[in-house]
Amino acid sequence: MAIVETRAVTKVFKAGTLGAVNDVDLVTEDGEFLVFLGPSGSGKTTLLRMIAGLEVPTSGDVLIGGEVVNDLSPRERRIAMVFQSYALYPHLTVYKNIAFPLRAQRVPKDQHRKKVEWAAGLLGIGALLDRKPRELSGGERQRVAVARAIVREPSVFLLDEPLSNLDAKLRASARAELEQFHRRVGTTTIYVTHDQVEAMAMGDRIVVLNQGVVRQIGTPKQVYDDPADTFVATFLGSPPMNLIDTGEVIVGFRPEHLVPAALAPSAALKFNLKIHNVEYLGSEWIVYGVPEGDRAGDKIVISRVPSIDLKIGTNHEFAVAEPHLRLFDKATEKRAPARPVSWP
């Protein structure tokens, strides 16, 4: 078990260009499940690879368990990593794949079988030990990769988009398994993903990254309810937060908080919406409309309501209650303190 820390870590691949990772400071808690979330190219994988020791930071320090590990090789960092492609050794059986870290770390041979069987049992792949990776399904490969990572009980567990190669259904069950698994072993885990659902569901805390910069670190609830800037506001949530430029500030509100005016008695923001399109998603409706009177140009705002009876092309009054408004500074796009909003 260990705490991972980065201090002003920067990675510049080509001198003179923008870094892939810029000045990242973060500290995990012991046993925490920390998620790096960001779009592709946001530097999340590069940051993870620097923690793993597969990439050398251009500047800054990486600390594991309070010790600067910049000059240590991956093997000396006592970390385990699951790669996006799983990187199983194709010529070795599942048993030998899982046993490889034990052999490499010179764990006494008589303990191998016990440990491999423990790891395989934990992931439910005990029956596959004699197979080769190519004889396994995607989900089985992913479990072998996880088993190989945990078999030597690492102090830190790094996962690089381990679910992105699975189909949607399998991904949901694998996600639940990984969560359960983390609760059981309690190892500090850093998990990279571009999938906000994974991040929200699994993370104790989420680090939102964009262009190599940390935009926000917080619990799933914090980053969703109180985004630090407009990037976080629009990156998380599907459909994303509505942002409306009122002239002095940018006003943000989640689609689920934009409701027919009758349902929001203490509305702080109220306007007529010309309905453009309505989508029925089973449990909810997504309503797309343009605020009437050219108040926001052609800007489409989105509402998400449990049930509704609206016709495309008609006008309806929608409103947002005061506690659900989030204000952002127009210049910096960062969160601005709450204040009464006037939208002429």
């Binding site: 020791g53 597969l54 991956p74 990187a87 050794y89 490889f100 870290p101 490499a104």
Partner: protein
């Protein structure tokens, strides 16, 4: 229906026309000489005499009796196995060194390709001078650093053991680029995250090399090695230029012996028998070559 049939038959004709040059080329330049060698091996043909009586296995019986042949057979195996081992180790090391980027990699890769690009005889002649009994630069250097005495310098091509070592080294030098390029291609094709996974799992350089990289490269290594075996078993240029099989047949290999017996010694029948003596063995090697190449393709 008629249209498709005509299209198919004209496509078939086109296919034949396309493959014909290659087939003719192989038949005329490889098949005919090979057939003639077979024919001569069972006859009493000599240069100048048209004698072509069938003599059964007489030629084989007589070459098997000849000490020269037995020496050449043994030498062929020593020459092939030793040079292939050196090539395999050397080219793997070179390919590993040339895989990663460094300043001047392009130049080094070019230099390593040179022995393959240059005409073999030219390279062998250069080596002949380097190993010359009087003008050898190697001896000059060894004398200059007082490792050998001026009046007792090694006769690289003049003593049986050193001559064998010399031809093996030169042949290795010549085959190294080919093998290196094949292995380099194989290395580049390995997924990058597998050695990274090994590093994270705690494997050092040697463990990663012997337990991960080389086993994954095995199909490629097999291809390189089998090609090398065929190239070496059937090649006589290095031996011919550097030692002409000497001293006392100590570097004579089967192809050079076949040439000296059949062409220079004008005993066509015996030469042909020597040259096709290894055909069964090479057919087996070729069979494995095809199988391995096929497997490398599939996985």
């Amino acid at each position: 229906m008629a249209v498709t049939r005509r299209a198919r038959s004209s496509g078939f004709g086109l296919g034949i026309a396309m493959i014909l040059p290659a087939v003719l080329y192989v038949l005329l330049l490889v098949g005919v000489p090979f057939g003639m060698a077979f024919f001569y091996a069972f006859s009493d043909a000599r240069i100048g005499s048209g004698g072509d009586h069938f003599v059964g296995f007489d030629n084989f019986a007589s070459i098997l009796d000849s000490p020269s042949f037995r020496t050449a057979l043994k030498n062929s195996f020593i020459f092939t196995i030793a040079s292939q081992l050196l090539v395999l180790v050397g080219s793997t090391a070179l390919a590993l060194a040339l895989k990663d980027k460094f300043r001047g990699r392009g130049l080094v890769r070019f230099l390593i390709m040179l022995p393959w690009v240059a005409p073999i005889s030219l390279g062998a002649i250069a080596w002949k001078w380097i190993l010359d009994s009087i003008y050898s630069v190697i001896n000059w250097v060894l004398i200059a650093v007082h490792l050998v005495k001026p009046f007792d310098k090694p006769m690289w091509l003049g003593t049986p053991k050193l001559a064998m070592i010399s031809v093996i080294v030169v042949h290795t030098w010549r085959l190294l680029p080919f093998s290196t390029v094949i292995i380099l291609a194989g290395l580049t094709a390995l997924p990058r995250d597998i050695p990274e996974a090994a590093a994270v799992d705690g494997a050092g350089f040697w463990r990663t090399l012997f337990e991960i990289t080389l086993p994954m490269l095995r199909p490629i290594l097999n291809v390189a090695m089998l090609f090398g075996i065929v190239f070496t078993f059937t090649d006589m240029i290095v031996v011919y230029v550097m030692t002409a099989g000497g001293p006392y047949d100590s570097t004579q290999v089967l192809p050079s012996l076949a040439f000296f017996t059949g062409i220079q010694g004008s005993d066509l029948a015996a030469g042909a028998a020597i040259s096709i003596f290894l055909v069964p063995l090479l057919v087996i090697v070729a069979y494995f070559m095809l199988r391995v190449a096929h497997r490398a393709e599939v996985t």
